[in-house]
């Protein structure tokens, strides 16, 4: 552990302040709670909100997993995992099932999370209405009044112009039937995993200084219309390495002649399946 810094970097008073915000956030699912976000030794926009939330919930016995784009070995995931290994000395893992706290950017792991796990999302823009109304004074009022007509009109206009809702990621959700919430920029494919998830879901937006949460087993509904129900988007073929048909896939360009390989974005999920003997058409047994 790093000398001269408190466990998990933040001082205990700051953690207490963040835990208070977290408690409030859990009590009002989907509501954005302002908090005194600290300046972290990592840049804003690179997970400072998630890091502060993780630092505040982490204990010495926790096992931490950090993913970015579903992968444990992307550079920023490596950097954040190292930060906690160094400042908190906690055990880290790449296996979803072994982790007690999972910090993520842009994905929810494929393996269903349990009620003894916490997932911490890094959030660049907590305000789901920001593209429609730039003033936070105004959006705050709209949340207060549950005045979400603007978002419904946006979705309606999508249907009118394109024949379908055109949002592919950061697809807005209604939490517990009350607050419109940004699920963070996860692909819409992941949205259904949030609904009635047994794990506690915490969201940290450092630069925007907001925390919000979804308690376990809370209703989370992706906005849609009766005649245009929500549809998750994914590639149309199975994973080339493990053959999974129900996992979110990345597209890898293999040559300059249109060659493509589709592979699981969740690297742990893919490796586990391959270890269990599943082989895709581009994989080796």
């Amino acid at each position: 552990m790093t000398e001269g810094y408190n466990f998990a970097y933040l001082d205990e008073q700051t953690k207490r302040m963040i835990r208070r915000a977290l408690l409030k956030a859990v009590a009002i699912p989907g509501h954005q709670v302002p908090f005194g976000s600290r300046e972290m030794p990592l840049p804003y926009g690179w997970g400072t909100g998630g890091i502060q939330v993780t630092a505040s919930v982490l204990g010495p016995d926790d096992v931490l997993k950090v993913i970015d784009q579903g992968a444990d070995d992307t550079t920023n995931a490596v950097s954040i995992r190292r930060f906690f290994a160094k400042t908190a000395g906690v055990a880290t893992t790449t296996h979803t099932a072994e982790a007690t706290v999972i910090q993520t950017r842009h994905r929810i792991p494929e393996k269903a999370l349990r009620d003894d796990q916490i997932i911490v999302y890094q959030v660049p823009q907590p305000e789901p209405l920001f593209r429609l109304e730039s003033s936070r004074v105004e959006t705050r009022r709209m949340h207060g009044l549950a005045d979400y007509g603007l978002m419904h009109v946006k979705l309606y206009e999508d249907v009118a112009r394109f024949g379908q809702i055109s949002i592919a990621y950061d697809y807005p959700v209604m939490v517990n039937g009350r607050y419109l919430m940004s699920p963070s920029p996860i692909p819409a494919f992941d949205n259904p995993k949030m609904d009635r998830m047994p794990a506690l879901q915490l969201f940290g937006a450092g630069r925007e200084k907001r925390i919000y949460a979804i308690p376990p087993w809370t209703d989370v509904r992706s906005l849609d219309f009766d005649d245009h129900p929500f549809r998750a988007i994914n590639a149309l073929e199975p994973c080339g390495l493990c053959g999974a048909t129900d996992a979110y896939l990345d597209e890898v360009v293999t040559d300059d002649k249109g060659g493509r390989l589709f592979v699981c974005s969740d690297t742990d999920h893919c490796a586990e399946r391959r270890d269990a003997g599943h082989v895709g058409k581009d994989g080796v047994p």
């Binding site: 300046e39 784009q69 070995d73 992307t74 550079t75 995931a77 394109f162 692909p187």
Partner: protein, 352 residues
Amino acid sequence: MYVTVKGGEQAIDAAHAWLAEERRGDVSVPELSVAQIAEQLGRAVDRAMSEGSLYDRDLAALAIKQSQGDLIEAAFLLRAYRTTLPRFAHSLPIDTASMRAERRISAIYKDLPGGQILGPTYDYTHRLLDFTLAAGGTPPPVASAEPDGEALPRVPDILGQEGLLEPDEGSDATPGDLTREPLLFPAPRDVRLQALARGDEGFLLALGYSTQRGYGGTHPFAGEIRMGEVSVEIEPAELGFAIDIGDIVVTECQMVNQFKGSKTVPAQFTRGYGLVFGFSERKAMAMALVDRAMRAGELGEDVTAPAQDIEFVLYHSDNIEATGFTEHLKLPHYVDFQSELQNVRRMRRAAE
């Protein structure tokens, strides 16, 4: 066969090692010392301290060395350091009227008590590259004189005696602190001034400039600009009296702005205020322009321009926030991009 990419960890270590080598540059050239930066790149140190919100010349010089002279990166290093420091006390308000001024000018009076003091300014230098600096050497000695000890009353106080300038009501309330509490609206002026003092010089300069070009005019006069040392005092509760804990150099700008008056307020001049660490006149002046522009609403003026939009200014003035979020676009986004790709493909199929 495709193998999933691994090796982020080694790549990061190698990148850091390469960076350290780049930073040092050609080893046949003598290494720059932190003391040299602190002494000879004073304006860079001032800017890093101001935007880093930490008054420490040596640490700022170290940050500049570490960041290879990237001043936003240097300010970031200082911010990340200061946030870990314990807080013993709040200082009393500094008294700029008793500043040991190295520079003091007023654009609205030809002469005034204490006089105009030009100080170490670039203002009247001709911007010709000085090739003798490349050769190095010691500058010729400067003529010096004993301070005359004459007081330097602040220009707004002179104007205020006649009631021509809006009064500046002091307050005993604890000022807000953006480094501890999140920015909330309506943001009071103390919080706005703190945000501006920490804000990016370039951003404030452009915004202040925009007010001069018609985007929310404030009809400013540089009432007074002064730069010099002031004492910082704290009053520990157990002592009950103030003690001097050191001196800092600050630049203060008091803009005096036209105001036509309203139904309830007679015609008078209004204030825009700028105060920054070190010698940063450009920023202090820009700050004063933007401070006044943001007061449009409370003074009953139309709010039409970016500089008058408090939310816009305060949410975008911080260059540590701005640089982080702008630069985060280089982090992988392939999951989102993939969902957009599939979405566009789906929409094109639907259209066919």
